[in-house]
Every structure is written in structure tokens, then in C-alpha cells.
Symmetry: C2
Subunit: 758 residues, 2 copies
């Protein structure tokens, strides 16, 4: 808020100093711009270009990227370009061509500056003039699916992408053009373009959302090139709008904006990022949003250093890059939090920018160099040069991903996500807020990875991004009916109804509460959180522990989900193991043909393939995934039902992946204590055909104490040892001493939990 | 036969020359052995040990293997060993321990020779004496599953494995032992052991089968160490058996032996290998059998060079290694022909031996060095030294896998297998004989690989080898009821009945006939074969063509399956695409819940998930696998039915993989012409989220001519070009000229087929 205010104040002062202060008058505003009007000045600077040119041929990673870019652009220049009349959704020809065009212009602009070969400037100029000729004639894009339709693309979002990239190209060839030429481009193309995605689409522009971020940044980037402070102010603070309706929603069912909410670029930085740098929509969308956030921050820092954008909110933009890298598995693939497509990773080009910018403007953190080295690519600008020089000088240090908790919410008080990392296992425990319009109904859910492979999965999203065959590459209806529903996640479902009744209005108001996060002992790491809003009258408390037993090679996860309710309910706890069932210790009967598990809330997409009635004791499921053996051991009560389910019912277009789940169902109970362990314990080689440690190391898991105050779980291992894990359910003070007697044995410890040899 | 005769003759001569020729008398026979009685002399020779020791520290790949072996054996020596009373199936403790023991003894023996450290000799000696003490007391193994039960293991097969390895260990420490010690070992352990797997289990020993190969070689190896020519003769020629019953079968339903069939080692080399070196059971079992074949050949060559084992049958053992390497995909994983577990590759230790031995005894083929280099391991013997020196001297050349046809049958006249390799695609077209007891009912089936990934799959086998949780790691009942049935393969099924009624007795009598194999033009490669025995009265003719169209980046496969029958039938042609369905060009209706497709012959394991009635024209199925886009385009007739199936029905223990298939069904027709194309045409990146060439390049496939004499298929591509592929159905002479008029256009060509621009 302070920053947004100060820029307003600054602008007022500037206007007062000026003789006249006409809106839209570039020449007038120029006089008051705080830095010299030079070009390039966004991602490349005059000094930067000099430095780059002085180092060319001696900075391997930069030289390599430059050469690859040159080869690519040269081929395209040879092929010629097309500026077709827009008509397609993503995946279609016109969409993909306009997308290709802006990427090419950005690259050609940079090549012009670095190589000083006018053919690149001419390529950009010719294409821009073609756009300037056609743009005024084009109607709103004919495809009707978006709440904010663009002109080049079916949604303003993609039009904004175009302008963010094209602004950089324009900046690079600015001095190559005559003033008359610039006037044509600005009046026929850039200004109307900026207006279309802002004042003509306020639902899109005036909100806090990744859409608006792109919109704000697009307008901001072109404003910086043109040195248009009025347009810049629009980017930074949004457009005043008398007609604003707080009930408006977007295509995904998300609210456009809360009453009284600040808008514009700084609001878009402030609200979605927690003080830890966690982006509330999750890493998949942060990756997407990080490009505009950081590319604009870079440009703003270069042209308006007094804005101190990188210091904003205690350097949250720099922190966000670190947070994002920490939300990836061993191979750099992002964890699946909210709508996310599997396989997205820090090798995405926006992360190349993000890492380089965070390095250059964030204090030259040498750990980032090791990520940049893996990316094997840098941005062709001042930031990329800094990284290339750092690598050349051997400054990199390993980026060590440790266990981490990232808070959610603008103030860091809306839950969070915990990553427990232990000897190759990575447990992702999610107790974040809803995540805006990309959120899932998955409070207290988790996923487990080992060595970069998902073992207990989060389904991700119901979408094949940019694959036109699948619903134009857009969200499929199964994203809403399946992927976002609670039963699609490894979390508790009450009465076959999703959390918050699957309603965004409700879900977006609440968040779980962090309870414990403690990872100082690497052999005993604990994350615990509570929720009492997903199902009114029902209180959920889940504790996930990574325990490394000295007797065994790999750690195991202990999962305690404590449910207390005012009413009797049916509870389902699904377990989405990935891999092939090897063995279960209970007798199940497979149905001749599968049945559909339920009617709504995602249950209509699950087949019931087999079921079992189990008794008090333990059930185990042993499975094989990627040539590793895993075992799930869960405590059961009499009359519990176990269901083997498979995804894929009511899926007329084969949009879903037909993966398995095991559901532990408790019927007609008020309270329930779900306790299980997950072990990675062995491996198989199809080459040597040897199976090593194919069986679980755990003999028995049992509840030895459970009250409002404490829950204690005993784990007997096959080496005839046992341990007891005790958690205090209500007091999480670190220094508080607890005393508890279980079966005549007295346990005394300090802090919320303890693991004790028995 | 000649070789088997000549060894008999030799033995007779030797016996005549001798004063007395008592069977079982080692000392006496020794006098007549053709080489000096020295030790070691099997895989290591006295000279070889000298050479190895002279080169140590200067032969990196050898030194590395030696060091790894030393580390492994030293650790085991420290841990001590166990010789437990046998009781388990594979995967169980006693099974795995005896297995570990023989591997360790073999390694320790070699280490003793190379490092000349007596601790290794002592380790072997102690273990051998423990076995000598226990073996006589042990009963037949308690597990009853095998037709030939061992004493250490549940089947004689594994006992034979033990003796093959242990003989090598004994050879290495032979001179370390006193004569008395040797007498104890030979009388209490080795001779009774050899007798158990031979004269006490004639069903196992006296046959042509991989079981017998191991048995023969086990007896032969220990005979060579002990210089016992009588025992050696037993290994080479089998045991005379008056009680032989030609109707005897083994556990897998395979006949023990045909009437009048030769037996013993040379028969086991002669019969299963075709003159091209193809092993009739397929590469998975060849890999398993290649170890005894080659290790014994090596020993025999070293001790009895006059046998000229490596020249036998025009050097078939050396050829077999080359054939086996050619039956692997880009990553070295073997193609799935008959019973095979996925993932087995030339990185298996038996292939390390095979490659090293083939190099050392087969003329130092430098291409084998590049495989050895990838294996990054050599055998610790004379052969391994030769390879290590070859690599050190930089002699290796790339092993280039080209398109190849390998005949099946001892005389090469029982069908074969064709591998068409074209720009990353590898098509495996199978028209072999049955493949003994490991054969599948899959005449004229195929599988397709791209870049080392299976795209159109062969299911492989229903077994998780050595994973005890799954049926003791042995064959599962689904191997017989599903994996071997015709419907589990990409081939034609008539009236829901497997080829040869799924009967081994019938199937093993017949084989398809090669028709064309021509790969001289790499852009037009053709393999064609016929079968008229799978279904009496029905003639099948399948032609598979790899066509590289100059306009497109990747080739496509044209598949023509021509069916002519005396009666009206239902025909099913399944297509086991692997991956996720993107789009079909026909309307299908998914059933609310799947139905079971049929009652027997594998159909009982398939769910019908969706179906469609299609009309005359083309159906297309576009799918995504490993981020590559594929399209199947098939010609359909009115009233054809398309079925989307999924494996997994009647699978009470989740033994099957739930993968998909598309079945094209024609009902109540006598003749049928199935024509389809398979294209790999595009790719997707989940990192850049770009889909490139997501759609097929083929506009239409149509039959333009079809008669008893000729079939002509027209392929229209999206660049408005078209080509016609014509095949002569009855005359495959290379030089014969054909003339055919189709729609007033005259086509003239020479040879069985032609592809003509239209």
C-alpha cells in the first residue's frame, strides 16, 4: 500500500511541477521521467549491452544460448512471418502463430542489440508494422469462451503475453526507428492494445489474479518503453472504476475482486505472495506468473530504481524464486498444489528468467548459479550476463533443498505447506488457503515423492495444456467434476461430499491452521495442522512424521489423521498409491465388473473394483513403483471397509488417467483416528531380476493412547524393537513439559511431540 | 550330429588305447585327456592368469570390475556365510541364500587366482566343505511344484545353475586343495550332485530345452574340472534311457522330447538355434540360456579345443550373440517374443559373459567392444581381459543395429522374425515357430518401439520374476489364461479362439512361412509372411511396411492383414497402443460400467469399455505416449465394430496391468482385408507446454485393388500427394515383372511389391 501511495504522491508532485500535464502526452511526461530516456532500458541497458559485447566468446553458457537463439531466429527470418486474422483457440494455427511471433520479436530485438546486425531490427520493425496495419481492423476475437476476450487471442491473458514480450522488442529497436515510425506504432498499435486489455476489460485488469498480473505488466512494460507515466500509473495502481460489481466472477468461478481490495501491480505482488514467498495459487501458476512479475520488476528497477521494487514487502519477489525452487522434486518438477500439470519444472523458460533476475537483483546468491547451470541457458540480457560470468568464475554452490514450511496468505497467517525431506523421500503436506480460482478442495492433503518420482500422488489437473485435441487444450470439465474434488486427493472426505461442499464462495473464506512444524532433528521431522471449516462441526487434525529408524536404510512416514465430530458420519480416506499391487495382507474380493462408487463430488468418476471388510488390527498394501517396493500399513477397526478404486467412470472422452486408489472407509462414527505408515523399503531390478527387501520392516502399528489431549502410536518393527510417537493435541508450545502414563509407563518430554524407544 | 558322433568315436578310440576303461574312474580317464591336466583351465587359464596379473592397474574396465568384485566378496567374507536346509521357493531365504552362495564362490575363486590371496580360496573351500557335509543328508527339496525337483532348490534347473558356477570356483581352488580334500568334495558332493540332475532326473536332463542345457552344462563343467571324460560324454550326448516315454510333458505343458530326437549339449546347441543364431524360445530365454552355452563353450574350447565348439554349425554360438544384440531396442532392452519380462536387457550379467566370450573366441569383432563399454563391466577371465585390452586400445566401433530378418528352426526353415528399423522406429514382426514351452499363440503378431520405448505393445509374460509376493516369483496362472493367448497380441483372432485352439501339441507342429523381407531401400522396407495353420481353412497374409515419406520427419508403418477363409467367421484385430487416448475421429459410446468381453481364450480378461459401429471409410485414433503423438488410421467397412478394451477382468489378485486396446471386429465374413497405418508424428513438452505436429499427416487410406493376385493400397497425405503400395500376393520372385491396371492407370514393376507416386 505504501508503495502504491508513494507513486501516486510522486505523480502528483511531478504534475504540479509541470506546466501542463496532459494524459496520453508522451513528450510532456518525458520531461519528468526520473531517469534519462535511453534505449534499450528494460531488460537490456546501454551499459549492459556494452558489457555483453565485451565478453562475447568468453562466457560459455551465454554464448551457447546466443548461438541457439541466432540459429532459431535466422531460420525464421528466412522462412518469413505471418500475421494471420485471429480465429483459433490455443493449439490452433492463428493462436500458435501469434504466440510464435511475439517470442521471435523479443529474441530478434535482443539479437539486434547484442549483434548489432540490422536485419534483426528490420525483422521486428516489419512485423510490428504488419500488426499496426492489421490490429485496428481486427474485431474482438471470435471465440467466445473467455470472460475477457482479446483481439489476437481468445482471451486478454494471451494478448497481454504478446505485449509483455513485444514491449521488449520495441525497446530494443526504439532508436532504430524514426520518430514518425514510432508514432505510427504507438498510436495504431501499442496504445489501443494497452487500452483493450485494461480500460476495455476491467474485469480482467482490475483484480488480484495471475490474469491481472499479466495485464498490469503488459501495460507497465509498454509504458516504460514509451516513458508514459500515466500509463505506468495505470499499470501500478489499476483503473478507477465506478461500475465495479463485487459479485462478478470469471470463467473458473473465481470472484473478480473483493470489496475494497487494492489493485494494480503492487497489489498483485502483495496479496498472492506470503511473506515467505509462497504464491497462493501454487507453484504451477507461480511459474507462469513469475515471468511477468520478475521481468517487469527488472524493467522497473532499471528505469525507476526509486520504486525499489525488489525491496517491496521485505524482498518478497526474490524470496518467491527461492520458495518456488524449493517446491520442486529432485528432478526440478514442481509439486502438484492446486491446478497443475505434471512435468512442469524449473527448466521452463520463465524459471530461466526468474533465476537469472533473482541472482542479478537479489544479491548474487551462488546457489542460484547451480540451478542456472542445470538449466544450461541464460536470458540474453544484463541478468543473464551476470549469471554467465558467475558460472564462468566457478562461483556456484549446490542448491540444497531442505525441509521447509512456507506460509500462505498475504500476511502469512492463512495456513501453509510443509515439505519434509528425508533421505530421498519428499513429503508434501498441504494446509494452505484455497488458492484463488485454481484451488482444490483438498485441505490437509498430502503427496509423497521419492527420488523425483511420485509415489503417492496428487492427481494434478484435468487438462492437457495446449493439446488442441483435448478440449482445445483448455480446462476439461473433469477438472471441476474430478480433479478439484476432495475424493481425488489423499485427504478425508465426509459423507461423500467435498470440503466446503465444493463451493468456491465458502472455500475461499477459510484455511487450515498450522500446528507444528519441526525439522531440526533430521531423523524425526514433524508437520501438523488442523482444520475445522471444511466440514462444519467436524474437526480434523493431521500430523505427518518422517521417521528414520537407525536400523533401516530408508525412512518411513507416519500419518495420523484425527477426526472429531458433533455428528455421526461416513469417513473415507483415500490413498492414491502409484504402481502395481504386489500383495495385501487382507482378503479382498474383486467384483466381476466394477461398480461406480458414488453419484457426485468426484465419486461418480471412481470405479469400485474390489472391497473387503476388515477387523481390528492392521491392513497392509505392498506395491511396486519404478522398481521400488513400498508398503502402506494402516490401523483398522472392526467394521471398517477397504475399497480398491480406480479412476475412470463417467469419462466419455477418456480424459482421465485410470489410476488406482485404496480407500479406508469408516461408517456411522462420530470420531475416527486414521493412522498409517508408508515405507519405501526395497528395490527390484528387471535386469538382474533380484528383489531386495521386498517386504515391510514394520510388524505392527497400534494406538496405545488417544484422548482430547494426547495421541500415542506404537510402531513395532521386525527387528523386535518398538517406538512410541506421542503428540499433544492441544498444546504446541516448544518448551512446555508433558507427562503421560500409558500402561504403567511414564513418558515425560518437552514440546508438542516425542518419539520414544519402548 | 557329426560332432556328437565324433566325440563318441574319439572316446571309443581312447578307450581302446587304454589298458582299462572303467566308468567313473577319474584317474584312469585322466591319462587320455587330450590336454594337460592343469588348473585353472575352464574360464581362466594358467596363461590367462599370468597375462591378467601383468596388466592389472592398466586396464580400466577390468580393474573397475575387479575392484567392485573384491569389495563385494570381502564384505561377504566378513559377514560369514550360511548353508541352510533348503525349503523355500524363489524369493525365499533358503533359495536366495544358495543362489548367493554359488555366485560368491565363483567370484571368490576368480579373486584367488587373480589376486593370489588365500583368504578367497579358503572361503570357497570352507563353503564347499559345508555343502559336502550337508548335501548327502538333504532330501529332495520339499516344494512340490516342479516336474524335476532339485535338492538345494525347488527345481533341478536351479541346482544346475549352482553347479555351473561352483565348478568354476572348484577349478580355481583345485590346486589349493589336497588330493584327499578333492576326493571328499568329488565323492560326497560333485558326483552325487551331477547324478541327481542327470541320471536321477532324465525328464530334465534328456531333452532339448533350456532346462536341459543348464543340466548338460552343469555336468559338463564339473566333468571338465575333474577331467572325467565319462561324465563329459554324459553332458555332451545325454544319458541312454530305455524307459523314455514320448508323451511326457513338463510343468509348462511342453513335451519332454520328440521321438528320436538327439539329446545332450550339442543337440541343445543344434536344435534351438537357427542358422542365423535365433534361439527359438526368444531373446528373454536366450539371454538366460546364453550363459551356460557360452561359458561351457569357453571351457570346452580351453580344455578340449579339438571339439571346435565355436565352429559348430557354422559358428552358430557366436552368431547367436550377434542375433541377440540385434533383438534389443535402442536402450538394449530385449524385444518381447514369447514369455519375456519387460526390462531385461543386454546389461544382464549373462550378456556381459556372452559379449566378452563372443569377442575373445569369435574373431575380435570391434563392434562388440562398444557394447562391452556400455555394459561397463567385463568377466574376470581371459575373455574379459581381451575385451578390456581392446577397449583400452580404442579398438571399439559402434554396434549399429540395422533392419534384420532372423530365421527360426534348426534348419532356418520354420518362419522367423523381422525387425524393420527406420529413423528411430523399430517394428518387430513375428512369424516364428512356437518357441517350445515358452511360446505364445501369436502368429503374425507385431510390436512397435520408438527410441527405446514400446508404443504398440506385446504384453510380455504374466510373471514377476523372483518377486515372492506374486506367486513365489514364478509363472502366474494369468500367463497361460491371458499372456499366451492370441487376443493378448496384435494379431488376428478368429471366433474368439486362440491360434491352434491354444494347444501346444498343435502349435508346436507348425510355423508361418516367410514371404518377403526386403530392406535395401531404407525408405521402403517390407516384411511379409503367411500362415494357414493357426486356423485350419483360413489363410492369413500379413505385410508390414516402413515407409519414410520425404515430406515428413518420421516414417510410418503400413500394415496389411489379408484374411481368406473357407467359412464365415468373426475376426478381431486388436491394437495394443500404450499411452493416453487424445482423440478418435469416430463416435464411440462408453459404457456406464465395463462389460467382460468374452468367456475364454484370454477374452475373459478383457473389459469392454466403449464401442462404436463404424461405416466404410477410415477410423483414426490419436494418442500420446512419452510426450510423443501417434495416430492409427484403419480402413473400415460397413458394420465393422470398434471396441475399446482394457486388460484386467477376472484378475482376483491384481496380477495384470490395466492397459488399453482397440479391437477392430468384423462379423460373419469369410474374407477380410485389414489395412492400417501407424504414424509417429509429433511431440509435446510439459515444460514448454508446446504441442508440435499433434495431428496425423495422413488424409486417407484406401484399398484401390484387391484380388487373389494383388492388393493395392492408396495413401493420401495432407500435403495433397498420394502413393500406392502394391503387393503381389502369390509371386515373390525378386526379378519377376508385374503389370496391373487400376482405374485405367497401368502400373508396371519388378519384384513382389512396389510403392508408386500417384
Amino acid at each position: 500500500m505504501i508503495n502504491r501511495m508513494s507513486i501516486r504522491v510522486l505523480l502528483v508532485i511531478l504534475c504540479m511541477m509541470a506546466i501542463s500535464c496532459k494524459k496520453q502526452s508522451v513528450n510532456k511526461v518525458e520531461e519528468f521521467s526520473s531517469t534519462k530516456q535511453e534505449h534499450p532500458s528494460l531488460i537490456l541497458t546501454e551499459q549492459g549491452v556494452k558489457d555483453i559485447r565485451a565478453n562475447l566468446g568468453r562466457i560459455p553458457i551465454f554464448d551457447k544460448t546466443l548461438e541457439a537463439t541466432k540459429v532459431e531466429v535466422d531460420a525464421e527470418i528466412k522462412n518469413g512471418f505471418d500475421v494471420p486474422l485471429p480465429k483459433d483457440y490455443s493449439g490452433g494455427y492463428t493462436h500458435e502463430t501469434h504466440k510464435k511471433n511475439y517470442v521471435l520479436m523479443q529474441k530478434a530485438g535482443v539479437l539486434y542489440q547484442i549483434l548489432q546486425d540490422e536485419k534483426y531490427a528490420k525483422f521486428v520493425k516489419d512485423m510490428l508494422f504488419e500488426y499496426a496495419k492489421e490490429y485496428p481492423k481486427w474485431p474482438i476475437h471470435p471465440k467466445p469462451r473467455s470472460y475477457a476476450r482479446g483481439k489476437l487471442f481468445w482471451q486478454c491473458l494471451n494478448d497481454s503475453n504478446w505485449l509483455v514480450y513485444t514491449s521488449q522488442a520495441y525497446d530494443c529497436i526504439y532508436d532504430f526507428l524514426s520518430e514518425d515510425e514510432r508514432n505510427i506504432l504507438e498510436n495504431d498499435l501499442f496504445r489501443p492494445f494497452a487500452d483493450h486489455i485494461s480500460i476495455h476489460n476491467l474485469k480482467f485488469f482490475n483484480r488480484v489474479h495471475n490474469h491481472a498480473t499479466w495485464g498490469n505488466v503488459a501495460v507497465g512494460m509498454i509504458a516504460l518503453v514509451m516513458d508514459d507515466d500515466v500509463l505506468l500509473e495505470r499499470a501500478l495502481s489499476g483503473v478507477e472504476n465506478a461500475d465495479y460489481d463485487p459479485n462478478e466472477k470469471d470463467d473458473d468461478g473465481g470472484y473478480i475482486r473483493k470489496e475494497g481490495q487494492a489493485i494494480g501491480f503492487f497489489a498483485n505482488v502483495n496479496d498472492p505472495f506470503s511473506p515467505d514467498g509462497y504464491f497462493t495459487e501454487g507453484p504451477y501458476y507461480q511459474r507462469y506468473a513469475s515471468y511477468p512479475f520478475l521481468i517487469f520488476a527488472q524493467a522497473l528497477q532499471n528505469k525507476r530504481p526509486e520504486q525499489k521494487v525488489f525491496q517491496f514487502k521485505d524482498s518478497v519477489l526474490i524470496k518467491s524464486v527461492n520458495a518456488l525452487l524449493n517446491l520442486s522434486d529432485k528432478d526440478g518438477e514442481f509439486f502438484l498444489l492446486n491446478d497443475s500439470q505434471k512435468g512442469m519444472s524449473y527448466f521452463n523458460s520463465s524459471l530461466v528468467s526468474a533465476v537469472d533476475i533473482a541472482y542479478h537483483f537479489g544479491g548474487n546468491n551462488p546457489e542460484l548459479l547451480s540451478i542456472a547451470k542445470k538449466q544450461d541457458e541464460v536470458t540474453l540480457d544484463d541478468a543473464g550476463l551476470a549469471v554467465a560470468l558467475g558460472i564462468k568464475e566457478g562461483k556456484e554452490k549446490p542448491f540444497v533443498k531442505k525441509s521447509i514450511e512456507l506460509s500462505d496468505g498475504a500476511n502469512g497467517d492463512e495456513g501453509g505447506v510443509a515439505i519434509l525431506r528425508s533421505y530421498g523421500l519428499e513429503l508434501v503436506f498441504k494446509y494452505t488457503a484455497h488458492g484463488l480460482s485454481h484451488g482444490h478442495y483438498d485441505k490437509l492433503s498430502f503427496a509423497l515423492f521419492e527420488d523425483g518420482n511420485e509415489v503417492v500422488q496428487d492427481y494434478g489437473m484435468g487438462r492437457f495444456v495446449n493439446i488442441e485435441q483435448k478440449g482445445g487444450g483448455n480446462y476439461l470439465k473433469e477438472n471441476k467434476t474430478w480433479a478439484r474434488q476432495s475424493i481425488a486427493h489423499n485427504t478425508l472426505v465426509q459423507n461423500e461430499t467435498s470440503h466446503f461442499k465444493g463451493k468456491y464462495d465458502i472455500g475461499s473464506k477459510y484455511h487450515p491452521t498450522k500446528y507444528v512444524f519441526s525439522v531440526t532433528d533430521e531423523n524425526l521431522q514433524v508437520a501438523s495442522a488442523k482444520d475445522d471449516k471444511a466440514y462444519p462441526g467436524t474437526r480434523l487434525h493431521r500430523t505427518m512424521v518422517a521417521i528414520k529408524d537407525e536400523a533401516y536404510e530408508t525412512p518411513y512416514i507416519l500419518d495420523i489423521m484425527r477426526v472429531v465430530s458433533d455428528s455421526s458420519n461416513q469417513y473415507d480416506l483415500p490413498f492414491y498409491f502409484l504402481g502395481h499391487v504386489m500383495q495385501a495382507n487382507f482378503e479382498y474380493s474383486k467384483m466381476p465388473v466394477p461398480e461406480i462408487l458414488g453419484k457426485s463430488d468426484g465419486y461418480q468418476h471412481l470405479y469400485k473394483e474390489a472391497s473387503a471388510s476388515v477387523k481390528e488390527g492392521n491392513i497392509t498394501l505392498n506395491w511396486l513403483r519404478n522398481n521400488k517396493f513400498y508398503t502402506y500399513t494402516a490401523i483398522t477397526s472392526n467394521a471398517d471397509e477397504v475399497i480398491f478404486g480406480r479412476i475412470g467412470a463417467n469419462d466419455p472422452d477418456f480424459n482421465l488417467r485410470n489410476e488406482q486408489t485404496l480407500i479406508l472407509r469408516k461408517k456411522n462414527v462420530k470420531d475416527a483416528l486414521y493412522v498409517s505408515t508408508i515405507e519405501s523399503h526395497g528395490r527390484y531390478s528387471p535386469v538382474s531380476e533380484l528383489a531386495v527387501n521386498a517386504y515391510s520392516n514394520i510388524k505392527k502399528v497400534s494406538v496405545v493412547y488417544d484422548s482430547k489431549e494426547y495421541t500415542a502410536i506404537k510402531i513395532d518393527t521386525k527387528n523386535d524393537k518398538s517406538k512410541v510417537f506421542i503428540i499433544s493435541n492441544q498444546k504446541n508450545d516448544k518448551d512446555l513439559e508433558h507427562k503421560l502414563t500409558i500402561k504403567n509407563k511414564e513418558y515425560i518430554w518437552k514440546g508438542a511431540y516425542q518419539l520414544i524407544e519402548n
